[in-house]
Structures are given as C-alpha cells and as structure tokens.
C-alpha cells in the first residue's frame, strides 16, 4: 500500500478518500457492459489525465505501476487471438495463420475490446491508490461511514504489520539456510517447510501484537464509545465538485461515442450467446 501512495499537495490528495472511490463506481459498472474498443480507450485517457494532471503523479511512475496491468491485458489479447469461441469466428476473415492456428479478424477485435476493458477497469482505481494515505482512508471510513473505530484501527495496525512480517520471513529463511537446510521441492517438504517457517513467525507476531495492544491500551484506547478526531475528514465542496465533474465528463464521453455509433452492443458478453 505504501509504495503506491505518492505524497504531494495535488488536488486529488486533498479530496476525501471516499469521493475518489464513489466517483468511478458508475463508470466501473457501465464499462463492464460495453463491448467496443472506443469507450474503454476514452476512459483510459480520462483516467490517465486525472492521475497525471490532478494527482500530479509523474508520468514515469504511473507507467511503472500500471505496467503489470498492461502486461496482463496484453496477455488476455494474445489469448483471445488463438482461443475465441467458434460461433464468433465463423464467417470472419482469417488475418494470418501460425501453424494449425488461424487468427480471425473478429478475434483481434474481441481481444482488443476485452483487453482494453480490463485495463480501463483496473486503472480506474489508481487515482485513489496513488493519492490516498492509508490512515486517511481508514479515518474517512470511521468518520463518514460510522464504522466502529475499534475494528477499523485493528485493520490499520494489521497493515503496519505486513512489512514487518515480510522482513521477518526473510530473516527466518536465511537463518534456516545458514544451518544447511536446503529448501527442497515436493509435497512433504512443502508441509515441513511451512511448519518450520510458521512457528517462529507466529510466535513473533503474537509477541509484537501483544506489545502493540499494551501500547494502545496504555494510551486509553477504547476508553469511550466514541472518539474525537484531530483531522476531520468530511465531504467538502471540492469533493462534490470532483464527483460531479467526473460524472459530467463521463456522460459527455458516453453521449458523444453513442451518437457517433462507436459504442457497439451493450451486454456482459462479447456477442450474445447463440448468435
């Protein structure tokens, strides 16, 4: 979570984390039902604009983080090229063949649509992840959604534990390695290994958890039903502005594409069954 967050004073950083989640939700649902290449493409451009301009995230960092998503999308595309449902490929012209495989035009089209859709859906979450500090997110959940704070703080502390546990795991692994215990393959050794690693990790996790609990109790955690907050996170004017402009721009994009006939069929599947 930490390596996503990009700390600056951009417009997005000032927003309530929740508005960054709420704004893209309708688009998210809509995109799932659009089977053309242009709509996802338009939203990819829009999201990138939000990240780079409104979030002031350096373009290279954006590329770096979205690279795995891109690779994932491209592999979907490649998969589609060779394995499209036969009722779709029927009648479509063959683009080229590799050995026994024919690559049809419709496969390229369907593959691109699906790949772009997945890419668009995944990067819709990035404006949030790039510009939201985890503890701010927790705070906004507690304050705006009225979640019990005891529970949410538990989640937050757990987040703090993750990097600690990772370091710990690496230490244990090298500690066993210097004893001449090699990690071997095989199912039996897998169970043996799991046990060997998990006991010291668990013992330590329990100890650290106990200490954290003491430290929290020692500062009156859970004294009252409610607690006050130093930083109030509310829905401010800029949050409403962000959400409504997000929806307005999205609506313009959708209407333009629809009237230009570039939206294709609407439905969860590419081409309906039994066509």
């Amino acid at each position: 979570m930490k390596f996503f967050y990009y700390d600056n004073d951009s417009f997005l950083n000032k927003l309530n984390p929740l508005s960054k989640i709420i704004a893209p939700i309708p688009i998210f649902i809509l995109l799932c039902m659009i089977n053309d290449v242009w709509t996802p493409l338009a939203f990819i451009v829009m999201t990138s604009f939000i990240i780079v301009v409104l979030g002031k995230v350096p373009f290279t960092k954006f590329l770096k983080i979205s690279a795995p998503i891109l690779i994932f999308s491209i592999s979907i595309l490649v998969l589609f090229l060779f394995a499209t449902r036969s009722e779709l490929t029927a009648g479509s012209p063959v683009l080229f063949s590799i050995g026994p495989f024919n690559v049809y035009q419709i496969s390229l089209y369907a593959g691109s649509a699906i790949a772009l859709r997945i890419y668009a859906l995944l990067i819709l979450a990035l404006p949030f992840s790039f510009t939201t500090e985890p503890s701010n997110f927790i705070r906004s959940i507690i304050q705006n959604l009225k979640l019990p704070y005891k529970f949410s703080y538990g989640v937050m502390v757990a987040f703090r534990f993750l990097p600690m546990m990772e370091t710990e795991f690496n230490v244990v692994r090298s500690a066993h390695k210097v004893m001449g215990i090699a990690d071997e393959g095989g199912v039996r050794s897998y169970f043996e290994k799991t046990k060997r690693y998990s006991v010291p990790l668990l013992v330590n996790a329990i100890r650290i958890g106990e200490r954290t609990a003491l430290s929290m109790d020692g500062r009156a955690f859970g004294a009252f039903k409610e607690r006050t907050f130093f930083q109030k996170i509310q829905f401010k004017r800029i949050d409403w502005i962000y959400m409504f402009s997000f929806w307005a721009v999205s609506a313009i994009i959708l209407i333009t594409l629809y009237s230009a006939g570039l939206m294709g069929e609407i439905g969860f599947y590419f081409g309906s069954f039994g066509q």
């Binding site: 503890s135 013992v203 430290s215 607690r227 006050t228």
Partner: protein, 579 residues
C-alpha cells in the same frame, strides 16, 4: 504518588509468583531505578501502576496499589493511564499510526479532546522532546532513538504525572541510547516529573536517580535505598545475582577485593576521577597486551574479504571493504545501526551472494563452497535465537544436524550429553526450545551452531536483550571456545564487551571499515570512536579523564586493568606511601 502494599501477582493459577509481597512508596518528583535479573517481574510491576494489570491481563492479584490516590482495582484503565505513561522496549511494536502527528494525538483522540486542545498539546509534547521539526515525518523514516522519543511525546501529550521507562533503550544503538537519556535528563530538570526507570547500563544517568529498588528472581524486593547505599553495602549480592551496577562502583568493588582502600563508592566518572587522581598508576600496566600480529600468510586466514562493495536500492551499504580474519581470532565488528555490519556478516555465509573473487573462507571463494559444506565450516547465530529453532525439543534441535551427517547413535548420544552439560541446559533437554529463558535460548542457539564442528562462529548481537548474568555466561563460553582455537566474529554495540573480550576490532561507518586493529588501539583513537558514533565504555572515559593527571592512565578500559595498574604501582611506590 504511588503506594504499593504487599502486592502479589501471578499470570496463571498454580504458576510461580511474578511479584511476591512488594511494598513500595514513590513520592512526587522522585526518580526511581528498578533493577533485577530478567524475568524478575519488573515489567509486571510497571503494568500494575497504569492499571493494565489487573484490568487487561488475566491473572491473580492481591495486595493494594494506589496511584495518585486512586485504587487501581476500582479505577478504569483510562483514568490510570492518564496519570501513568509507560514507554516500552520495542519501538517498532508500539506504534499505531504511520506518521508522527497521528501518533501523538492518538491518546488524545481516545480521550475525546477537542481538536484545538490537541493542537496545543501536540506542539507542547513535541517541543518537550525537542522533535518539533519531525511533526509531519513518516514513522518509517525515523531511527530507533527518534521513535522512542516520539512515543515518549505521545505519552506526554496526555500529561501524565508519572512516567515509566521499561527498558526503552534495549533495542537502540549506543548513540540512540545516549540521545534518549539526554531527553530523560532534560525532563527531570525542567518538569519535576516522577520517573520510574527499569534499565540497565545506566552509567550516564545514575546521578539523577534518587532511589534504587532491586527485585529478585522470585519477585520479592531484595534491597531498597539510595544508589550509594545499594551499590556500596550490597555490592557483592548484586554481583552474585547478576544485577547491573555502575562500572565505577564495580571498579571500586574490585579495589576492595584487592586491598586497595577507598572511602565512598564512586557512582560516576567525575567522582571516580576525583578519587583516583591522587594515585600513581604503574607505567607499563598495559604491556601484557600482546599486539595481534596481522598474518598475511593466506593459509592461516579464516576469512578474507577483498574490496567488497554492496548496494541496495542505490544505497551503498558496503563500500570497498577489505578484511582479513586470522584463524583463532576473536573479532568484534562494531558501528552504529545501519553501518553495514550485518550485511557484511551475511556476505561471509553467502546469504547475500557476493560477486566472485571477493569473499574467501579458508582460502576458498565462498561461491564455490556448497551450502552444506559451508554450514559445516561456519556457524551463524542470528540476533533472535527463535529464528533458528526448527525442532520440537532441545534435544532434537541439537542433534538433527548430526543425524543428517550419518553419525552413529552412540556418538550422537555422548556428544549430546557433553554439550547439554557444557551449555547448562541439561534439565531442559526434553522441553520445547521456546519454553527456555532468554539466556538459555541464546545458549541453545550457539550450541546448535557448533554441532557440526564448525570452526568459525559468527554472532549477530549475541547479548541483545540479555541480562547481565546471561551475557556473562555467554561471553565466558565464547572465550573458552576461542581458546580451543575457534574463530569468533561478533557483531556488537557493547563497547564494554569489546574492551573485555575482543582481540581485534573492525569499526564500520557508512559501509566502510574505518578502523581495524586491537581494542586498545581503538580506545586511544577518539576521533574514530566519534566518527563511528560509538560511545566508549565508561571506564575508558574515566581513564581519559585521569590521563590529564598522569599519562599512564591512558587506555585502561576494564576493572582488571585498573586493578593491575594500581597493584603493581603500589608495590613499587610503597616507600612513598599511598595518598
């Protein structure tokens, strides 16, 4: 402020008492030092003051605890915690938030303070620990000492009248410790806080302490009194129980044993200096120190490192480091946190793979030695012994290595017997390694690393979190292993250990070895000590303070050396008479 009468506590029914009949009165503005071996219930006592015992811990408590006029039994925890704040040992585990500001206001938020007042208290608390510039910092970017200061500020924000420090510097390097102690000192000077310290290695802080309370293994109060009373009259008992004493008091005690007279026990360096400056030390008291000849003969090298560099995330961790470790050496690697000590040691056992032609074990490139063979040559003891516990009982833990090599059961049996005996863990042979005490866990982890007849032993901070008695046992063991011809390499912060045990020292600073030579040479070189953020052992400070009066004091760093210097001097100058 605090009144404790006949306090008993045990964590589980039927188990032994953690606290047994403790009586204690703490007055306002007092600074109390609580001493005791590990497992003696010091931390338990602290937890009864802020109400976490009995409210948050299951267990059996009897007796009475009054804190600021409230009876702890009948008062909710959050009321007591507003009066009593505790800084614990592990800075990492105490943090709740990811940045400093959130951490400071955490307690205030729980107590439902309005934001305006939080702001005021936040600024006040941070300025008290002199960390106002750190307000918007990330917790990850802080050093250990800084973390402890922030946690202290987080407690100060609640404005408790009593502050308890439960071994707050146990996880810090010497400089971090010093930094934290300075803060504690300034608190005492400015605010007249009531402070309860649970600590050892307090040479820098002893003069602010009003009263010392010693708790024994059984959870009973052994002694209570002013530092002078406790460290003078009860010195032999403290030494026997393995309880910390100021180094200068220890020195005075040694003098007494050797018939060198003194009046009052000196509790700090100034006092000791005042007292010793009238003595004439023997000029050649350090001459028995035989300078270790650096062997260039390659057949005699245990480990050789040639011009090693290592970077991680563009940060240079090790830079052009060369090092030769002769067979049979007792080498200490010292340096501040993050100087690259552990990284260097990890290269020696190929946990971090060095490039070819950089690290040689007994003349062979470490890359060309198979993991199995390497583990027969070098034992590497990790900082936390538990990381290397892989079997269910102590016995299995010790023998599994030998079983893999195909030794006969009789051989294993006799080896096991002698090892359990030597490491004094025989009664626990059938127990789980996790059930041992801190000290025993450490001994077991060292023993595990010797099962295959390893000739080189690398230890990463072996005395970390150990009380005085177990550290001493461990070091005595290492000394005897070294005498048997084993090469010992020890990463440590503890300069007193270095003075006493190491033959050679490597000082690391920002990835470079800035010094390599004998401990005595190092101690004469104040510039290096300062550069590497090392704090000299207290007795070395004494000797450098004394060297203003007589050059021959220079470089003495252990009680034995001081005694030697005076003993031989006294016999020489007996006709001139003692001062």
């Amino acid at each position: 402020m605090i009144e404790v009468a006949n306090l008993c506590f045990k964590y589980e029914k039927g188990s032994k008492h953690s606290l047994n009949g403790i009586d204690l009165k703490v007055r306002e503005g007092e600074v109390i030092l609580v001493l005791g071996p590990s497992g003696s219930g010091k931390s338990t006592l602290a937890l009864t003051f802020n109400g976490l015992i009995p409210h948050s811990f299951p267990g059996e408590m009897s007796g009475m605890v009054h804190v600021c006029g409230m009876e702890s039994f009948k008062t909710p925890v959050y009321e007591l915690t507003q009066k009593v704040g505790i800084v614990f040992q592990d800075p990492e585990a105490q943090f709740v938030s990811m940045n400093v500001e959130d951490e400071i206001v955490f307690g205030l938020e729980n107590l439902c303070y309005p934001p305006e007042e939080m702001e005021e208290r936040l600024v006040e608390a941070l300025s008290k620990v002199d960390m106002l510039d750190y307000r918007y910092r990330d917790v990850y970017s802080l050093s250990g000492g800084e973390k402890q200061k922030i946690l202290l500020a987080a407690l100060m924000a609640i404005r408790p009248s009593i502050l308890i420090f439960d071994e707050p510097t146990a996880n810090l390097d010497p400089m971090g410790t010093l930094e934290f102690f300075e803060t504690v000192k300034s608190l005492k000077e400015t605010d007249k806080h009531t402070i309860i310290l649970i600590e050892h290695k307090l040479d820098d802080l002893i003069h602010i302490i009003d009263r010392v309370v010693v708790i024994g293994k059984e959870g009973t109060k052994l002694v209570e009194g002013t530092p002078l009373e406790v460290f003078d009259e009860h010195a032999s008992m403290l030494i026997q129980e393995g309880i910390w004493m100021p180094q200068t008091a220890l020195l005075a005690n040694k003098f007494k044993e050797n018939g060198i007279e003194h009046n009052d026990i000196p509790l700090n360096i100034q006092e000791a200096c005042e007292y010793l400056k009238n003595f004439k030390p023997h000029p050649d008291s350090l001459k028995d120190e035989s300078p270790e000849t650096v062997t260039t003969d390659n057949s005699n090298l245990a480990i050789e490192i040639r011009d090693l560099s290592f970077s991680y995330d563009k940060n240079k961790i090790i830079e052009n480091l060369s090092l030769k470790v002769a067979k049979g050496d007792f080498l200490a690697i010292v340096g501040a946190n993050g100087a690259g000590k552990t990284t260097l040691a990890k290269h020696m056992v190929n946990i971090i793979h060095p490039p070819g032609g950089k690290v040689f074990i007994e003349g062979k490139d470490v890359l060309n030695i198979p993991t199995k063979e390497l583990s027969h040559k070098i034992g590497y003891v990790f900082q936390n012994p538990e990381h290397q516990f892989i079997k269910n009982t102590v016995e299995e833990q010790l023998t599994f290595g030998l079983e893999l090599t195909g030794c006969s059961p009789e051989e294993i049996e006799s080896w096991l017997d002698s090892t359990l005996e030597r490491f004094r863990i025989k009664p626990y042979a059938k127990m789980s390694p996790y059930m041992l005490s801190h000290g025993q866990k450490r001994l077991l982890s060292v023993a595990t690393m010797l099962t295959l007849g390893q000739d080189i032993l690398i230890l990463d901070e072996p005395t970390f979190g150990q009380d005085l008695k177990s550290s001493r046992e461990l070091l005595a063991l290492l000394d005897s292993l070294n005498q048997e011809g084993k090469t010992i390499i020890m990463i440590t912060h503890d300069m007193t250990l270095v003075a006493k045990h190491a033959k050679n020292v490597v000082v690391m600073n920002a990835g470079k070895a800035i010094f390599s030579g004998s401990a005595h040479e190092l101690f004469k070189n104040e510039e290096i000590l300062e550069d590497a953020r090392l704090t000299p052992p207290p007795l070395l400070k004494l000797s450098s303070c004394l060297s203003k009066y007589d050059e021959n004091w220079k470089g003495l760093s252990t009680p034995e050396e001081f005694v030697n210097a005076l003993k031989s001097a006294n016999t020489l100058n007996s006709q001139e008479g003692s001062p």
